[in-house]
């Protein structure tokens, strides 16, 4: 029993890593209609920026804030100079552009900081709390709390605020939105900027756990995408829950279902997606998209 609960808790903290990235993906998708493969790479770059600042002697908290601000700007610049050209065109091309961006950013990180593992200073004190007989490290707990906070913020942004509405409107139909006076270009930049800032938070949260390498997020990206599809592209709460679900079920399946084991546990989220989407094509919490003829 103790092991079971511990496995669940382990799953939650791994799931939180996926959730962090998934939220950034949702944000960009809601604001631009794109799936951004570069999100993980951008998060890694942000983490490196924070890392470099701490190396220069900046206090951790300051380095983090500076990195978030820098990421906001970087996201906006990427939109302005690069993505702008592809936003109206074929979505496949835009996705491939984000893939190129991912490769480029990975390359830049490797070039500047090499492929060596860099140790990112921990954000939370070492130590653990005991929950129902299972241990939960402060860092996992902290990550979970931050994720929940961001999730709530995003939900409020999308549903409750004028900015959120405008961001969504632009993603749906730029021209229609422009006819209502929405500053399309600026909103797209804001969308990318916010997502990059959020990605920075994700990167900084996971960097101490995974230790910083240019490819740190590559694997998490696949899980994050799975969580995004499973939870429903439009729902921050949905993707976080989906990410946790994936983390937990994966652990349990590996431990308790013999033939899956730890090597095939990665199949679990996909089986889950498949089963869920057959019944609910919009994902667990997504809004059903109506296509009329």
């Amino acid at each position: 029993m103790g092991t079971f609960i511990q496995l669940v808790i382990d799953g939650l903290s791994t799931g939180s890593v996926y959730a962090a990235l998934a939220l950034a993906i949702v944000l960009v998708n809601q604001a631009t209609g794109l799936i951004n493969f570069a999100q993980g790479g951008m998060a890694v770059l942000s983490a490196y920026i924070a890392f470099a600042l701490t190396q220069l002697g900046a206090p951790l908290i300051l380095a983090i804030l500076a990195s978030i601000v820098a990421s906001l700007a970087l996201g906006a610049l990427i939109e302005w100079y690069l993505m702008r050209r592809f936003e109206r065109g074929d979505p496949d091309t835009a996705v491939v552009v984000t893939i190129g961006l991912l490769t480029l950013i990975t390359g830049i990180c490797a070039w500047i900081w090499s492929y060596d593992n860099q140790i990112f200073p921990p954000l939370f004190p070492t130590g653990t709390v005991t929950v129902l007989g299972a241990v939960l490290s402060f860092s996992s707990l902290g990550t979970i709390i931050v994720i929940v906070a961001i999730m709530v913020l995003l939900q409020v942004l999308f549903v409750g605020t004028k900015l959120g509405l405008a961001l969504r409107a632009v993603a749906i139909n730029t021209q229609s939105a422009a006819f209502s006076g929405l500053p399309v270009g600026r909103l797209l930049m804001v969308g990318w900027g916010l997502a990059a800032g959020l990605g920075a938070v994700a990167g900084i949260l996971v960097a101490p756990q995974l230790s910083l390498t240019p490819g740190m997020m590559d694997n998490a990206l696949v899980y994050a995408l799975a969580a995004v599809i499973l939870g429903g592209l439009s729902s921050p709460i949905g993707v976080v829950i989906a990410a946790w679900l994936i983390g937990v079920l994966e652990n349990l399946a590996a431990a308790y279902i013999g033939f899956i084991g730890y090597d095939l546990k990665i199949a679990v989220p996909f089986i889950l997606i498949f089963v869920v989407l057959i019944g609910r094509p919009q994902g667990l919490f997504g809004r059903k998209a109506v296509v009329r003829v």
Partner: protein, 394 residues
């Protein structure tokens, strides 16, 4: 097919093989320099480049035929993709004298047969796959690092002869690397009734976390943890996770992920573990214990000066490929004619060579069939600063 120059199969002992002139010799490397294994991959290039960089700066290497040659290294990135490794080999084979130091089992296997049929040396490669050291199957090949089985077995033997009861938890990387270790370990404990394996779990090299596995293993209450893991961040997080679960077994870590500076000191507090064991044949360059070692100092300054590698490497592969350089030099010095054939003969006749950075008691020996250039390993125990050879279980 009329435009073809001489292939690589020349057995004429007078005509020099490709990639060697009166004044220079070129060596090719295909290794991952991008992607997940880029860290160790770049290291394999850096070490050998640094070694020969220093030699070249000092005038070059004096070959057995009396000529002094500069050694050039041509590295290509294969991104751990067998197909690209083969392409790189195809690209290099007519312009280099020999291929060396490349990292990875599938990437080396992809062109092993081509190298055999072309007669191109594929030597001192960084894989513990035994096939590369089997002379019958692989006449043009030779591995460098100890085969994984040796490392696992050394630890298994130590444990089996400890005279006390042990319960072992095993976590291994799901590939030939991890499986090789486990296989060796099991061979080491074969027939020893004092050892039981409580649980054996695997993980994927791409996993972001192994917390689940550790939780499950901790639940067995094993007192020895055989952790055949090659991913640095995962080793660090494992050390932390086990501690937070209150599970403090004796650890075994493989040679390439046991670095004191790169790993153990970056974990929260490894002193809670009664013993951390590893196997090694190389001085741990990050270890404070070796900070004043002449070998280590030269090595690090060569890396900086000739391989553009300013940091102290987090991977042991830099040191290994530095030793590859030294071993190659030995072979060059014995070569009497500039042919690949002669090179292979020379290479296979090195014994008891103490390459730089080697731990006392280990040596390069290329004369034993079925074994790579380095096959002796020591089990070591971490003492809070560095490793000390452990001859018996304490």
């Amino acid at each position: 097919g009329c435009s073809r120059g001489g292939g690589g199969t020349s057995s004429d002992s007078v005509a020099p093989s490709p990639g060697i002139t009166e004044t220079a010799i070129t060596l090719g490397i295909t290794t991952p320099m991008s992607g997940t294994t880029a860290g160790p991959g770049t290291c394999t290039v850096a070490g050998v480049t640094a070694y020969f960089g220093a030699k070249n700066a000092a005038g070059g290497v004096k070959f057995g035929d009396g000529k002094t040659r500069k050694v050039e290294i041509k590295p290509l990135d294969d991104g751990y993709d067998p197909q690209k490794a083969k392409a790189n080999y195809d690209q290099l084979k007519d312009s280099v004298f020999a291929m060396t130091a490349g990292l990875g089992t599938p990437t080396n296997r992809a062109w092993r047969e081509a190298a055999i049929s072309d007669g191109v040396p594929q030597v001192l490669v960084m894989t513990g796959d035994p096939i590369f050291s089997d002379q019958k199957q692989s006449p043009w090949q030779l591995g460098f690092v100890p085969i994984y089985q040796n490392e696992g077995e050394a630890f298994g033997t130590l444990l089996a002869t400890s005279g006390s009861e042990h319960k072992v938890a095993v976590l291994y990387q799901n590939d030939d690397y991890g499986k090789g270790y486990v296989e060796g370990f099991k061979k080491g404990i074969e027939g020893a009734s004092n050892i039981t394996i409580a649980e054996e779990l695997s993980y994927e090299a791409t996993d972001a976390s192994v917390d689940g596995q550790l939780t499950q293993l901790a639940a067995t209450g094993a007192d020895v943890f055989f952790n055949a893991m090659s991913i640095t961040p995962l080793v660090i997080s494992s050390l932390n996770k086990a501690q937070s679960l209150g599970w403090t077994p004796n650890w075994f870590l493989p040679s390439n992920t046991s670095s004191p500076g790169g790993i153990l000191q970056k974990a929260n507090d490894v002193s809670v573990y009664p013993g951390i064991y590893s196997v090694a044949f190389t001085k741990a360059v990050q270890s404070p214990a070796f900070a004043d070692d002449e070998d280590v100092k030269t090595f690090l300054s060569d890396l900086k000066a000739y391989a553009d590698y300013p940091d102290t490497p987090a991977f042991p592969h830099c040191a290994w490929s530095y030793q590859v350089g030294a071993t190659l030099e030995q072979a060059f010095e014995k070569m009497t004619s500039p042919t690949r054939d002669d090179f292979m003969k020379a290479l296979r006749s090195i014994s008891d060579f103490s390459a730089p950075l080697m731990l006392e008691g280990t040596a390069v020996d290329t004369t034993a069939d079925g074994q790579p250039a380095v096959s002796t390993v020591f089990v070591q125990k971490y003492n809070g600063k560095g490793y000390a050879t452990a001859t018996s279980w304490e």
